[in-house]
């Protein structure tokens, strides 16, 4: 690419960026308060920057696992009691399926967030989606403790390791290097060049 062409492309890119950040056109809607954003925002980044204060250990989590009813669906040991997916990662090397399972997911090696490359996925999901019927009812300490319990049961951390907003994002998950991000999406480009070749 010649330098002038490069400049031209950069100018276009610059224009697009400017357009995205221009002043509002319609002025409809209102700004949320900082408190509204804080209470609504339950998305936890792999960096853990949104994790709230709090802490928990696997020992505390083991008690909560029974008290909060987790064992009722996932079984006493986490290896599933019937209705819900297993919480224990299978030891086999079979790669996780590329699609969410259509069957009830019981004992499917793809079913559990322990396969995520980041421990934050586990925290995020327990916080937003568990226990069934009482979603969103767990306190940050309880979510840290249950996350620690599942990480311990899967041989990822020792039983006494404290999980908090600093330690959780640093946990090295078993599948940390075993995934590929989706390719950058561009309008009008095939999802995978040359697929299928004939």
């Amino acid at each position: 690419m010649g330098f002038r062409r490069f400049l031209f492309v950069m100018a276009i890119v610059g224009l697009c960026r400017t357009a995205w950040t221009q002043s509002p056109t319609y002025g409809v809607g209102r700004p949320p308060s900082a408190e509204e954003i804080r209470t609504w925002d339950i998305s936890i980044s792999p960096t853990g920057k949104e994790l709230p204060p709090g802490h928990g250990t696997a020992k505390e989590g083991a008690v909560l696992y029974v008290r909060k009813g987790c064992s009722g669906c996932h079984g006493a040991t986490g290896s599933s009691g019937g209705h819900a997916p297993t919480l224990i990662r299978s030891k086999d090397t079979k790669p996780a399926s590329s699609a969410p399972c259509l069957s009830p997911c019981v004992n499917d090696s793809n079913a559990m967030a322990i396969h995520s490359p980041f421990a934050t996925t586990l925290w995020d999901y327990i916080n937003r989606g568990m226990p069934i019927g009482k979603e969103g009812s767990l306190t940050p300490n309880e979510v840290y403790a249950l996350t620690a319990f599942l990480l311990f049961k899967n041989d990822v951390i020792p039983e006494d390791e404290v999980m908090d907003s600093q330690s959780l994002p640093k946990v090295k998950m078993p599948n940390r290097d075993g995934f590929a991000l989706p390719a950058a999406w561009k309008h009008g480009e095939p999802r995978l060049e040359g697929y299928p070749n004939r």
């Binding site: 357009a19 995205w20 950040t21 221009q22 002043s23 509002p24 056109t25 319609y26 409809v28 809607g29 209102r30 700004p31 949320p32 509204e36 954003i37 609504w40 925002d41 339950i42 998305s43 980044s45 792999p46 790669p95 996780a96 590329s98 699609a99 969410p100 259509l102 069957s103 997911c105 793809n110 967030a113 396969h115 995520s116 490359p117 980041f118 934050t120 996925t121 999901y125 937003r128 989606g129 069934i132 979603e135 995934f179 590929a180 991000l181 989706p182 390719a183 950058a184 999406w185 561009k186 309008h187 009008g188 480009e189 095939p190 999802r191 995978l192 697929y195 299928p196 070749n197 004939r198």
Partner: protein, 411 residues
């Protein structure tokens, strides 16, 4: 004047039929049978129903019943074999949830959409405020990544019923994001629903700024609760899990967030990962299809649907000899981008066993693959065990036997 006359005649005719129904009277015309009306006349006038002779219904996927023993809905298949045209009636549109879910009962007056994160001006909208903004209506399909044929599946409802197509009405997401002022370091959004699990997906910002819609309308009315009332994110051409129902929050971020819904799609192989968000070109013959019965040799119109996540359908070909030769079909509907497109093909069945196939080409020139093509690409054996990686958009064969019965050609 003329149109008014026609309307009046139509009204009188309709009135007579209703009067007949109300009186529970006997035969009026050939084929009309007696039957007590299921609903009172004023109810039928206020909200119309289909004929009691039309019985096409959705069915749950065989692997997991809906509703289950807890009352949770999982995946429910649309009856493609009975479909005509390209619009799926809202009441027959497929439904899917990630883990099984109750349909939330959301009061639209209480519902809010928040846009925040890496934006200059975080915003909260009420439904009334969203409806004040410029909107568009577009026809788009939604297909679940799990919409894949298996040899054990008998009907096209079972093999392909996790795709449906509707007219969607809403505000372009790009308009809302520009209003909030996306910061230049941003590269993804995380969209989230208001249902009990608050399902969330990471979506590339480039797609969000391209053609996504924040929809409150579906097929000319508010989106139905099973489809995300009062607000659903439409991400045209992407698999179903991105089309966030009960949309309550969009967070603009600088990375893939690896949400629970995201991590289910991760794969060690970047090629497979590339095949799991945008739907590839796909088509299927809906008539004649598995479980149907041909009356005997003679003329039949082969018909079906084609769609692609990359754009419009350019052409559809049909083979009546198991793939040895292919012939162009006619498109029988408008070809909208990322929408079901209806094709038709004149066929004279000679009464001999045969295999019917369809394959489409989208406006990128990408051709729908056969299972053999896919096996060749991955350099794996072509046999019953071949599992298509990523979204399965392979050609579906239907076997016609000499007695006119139609079966899944993969079995």
């Amino acid at each position: 004047m003329h149109s008014r006359k026609t309307d009046r005649r139509g009204f009188l005719k309709g009135g007579a039929a209703l009067a007949g129904l109300a009186a529970g009277s006997g035969r009026i015309a050939s084929g009309q049978t007696q039957g007590a009306p299921a609903k009172k006349i004023d109810e039928l006038i206020a909200y119309g129903e289909r004929s009691r002779f039309v019985t096409s219904i959705r069915v749950p996927v065989a692997e997991r019943h809906s509703p289950d023993e807890f009352g949770l809905t999982f995946h429910v298949l649309t009856p493609l074999q009975d479909s005509v045209g390209i619009i799926t009636p809202s009441s027959l549109f497929y439904t899917a949830t990630h883990r099984g879910a109750f349909v939330p009962d959301i009061d639209p007056r209480e519902h809010r959409l928040m846009i925040h994160g890496m934006v200059d001006r975080p915003l909260i909208f009420t439904m009334d405020e969203l409806k004040r903004l410029p909107y568009v209506s577009r026809v788009h399909f939604i297909e679940c990544l799990g919409n894949r044929a298996k040899p054990t599946h008998k009907t096209v409802q079972e093999t392909h019923g996790l795709t449906s197509c509707a007219e969607w009405t809403g505000v372009p997401l790009s308009l809302l994001l520009k209003e909030a002022g996306v910061q230049k370091e941003a590269s993804w959004i995380v969209a989230e629903g208001a249902e009990e699990v608050k399902g969330a997906s990471s979506i590339p910002l480039a797609k969000a700024m391209d053609d996504c819609l924040v929809c409150y309308g579906m097929n000319g009315e508010p989106i139905r609760p099973q489809q995300g009332f009062p607000l659903r994110l439409m991400v045209p051409g992407f698999e179903g899990i991105y089309q966030i129902k009960y949309l309550r929050r969009i967070k603009v971020v600088d990375r893939y967030y690896m949400t629970y819904d995201d991590y289910g799609h991760i794969n060690p192989d970047p090629k497979v990962a590339a095949l799991t968000h945008q739907i590839g070109p796909k088509s299927v013959i809906t008539y004649p299809s598995g479980g149907q019965q041909l009356a005997g040799p003679g003329f039949y119109e082969i018909t079906g649907l084609a769609w692609s996540g990359a754009g419009t359908i350019r052409s559809v070909e049909v083979s009546t000899d198991g793939g040895q030769s292919w012939k162009d079909t006619e498109l029988r509907s408008p070809a909208f981008p990322m929408a079901h497109t209806r094709f038709g093909f004149h066929w004279k069945w000679d009464g001999k066993p045969c295999v019917l196939l369809s394959r489409c080409t989208d406006d990128l020139g990408t051709i729908q693959p056969t299972r053999a093509d896919v096996a060749k690409y991955w350099n794996v054996p072509l046999d019953d065990k071949l599992r298509i990686r990523g979204a399965d958009n392979t050609v579906q064969p239907w076997k016609v036997t000499s007695d006119g019965s139609v079966q899944n050609g993969l079995s």
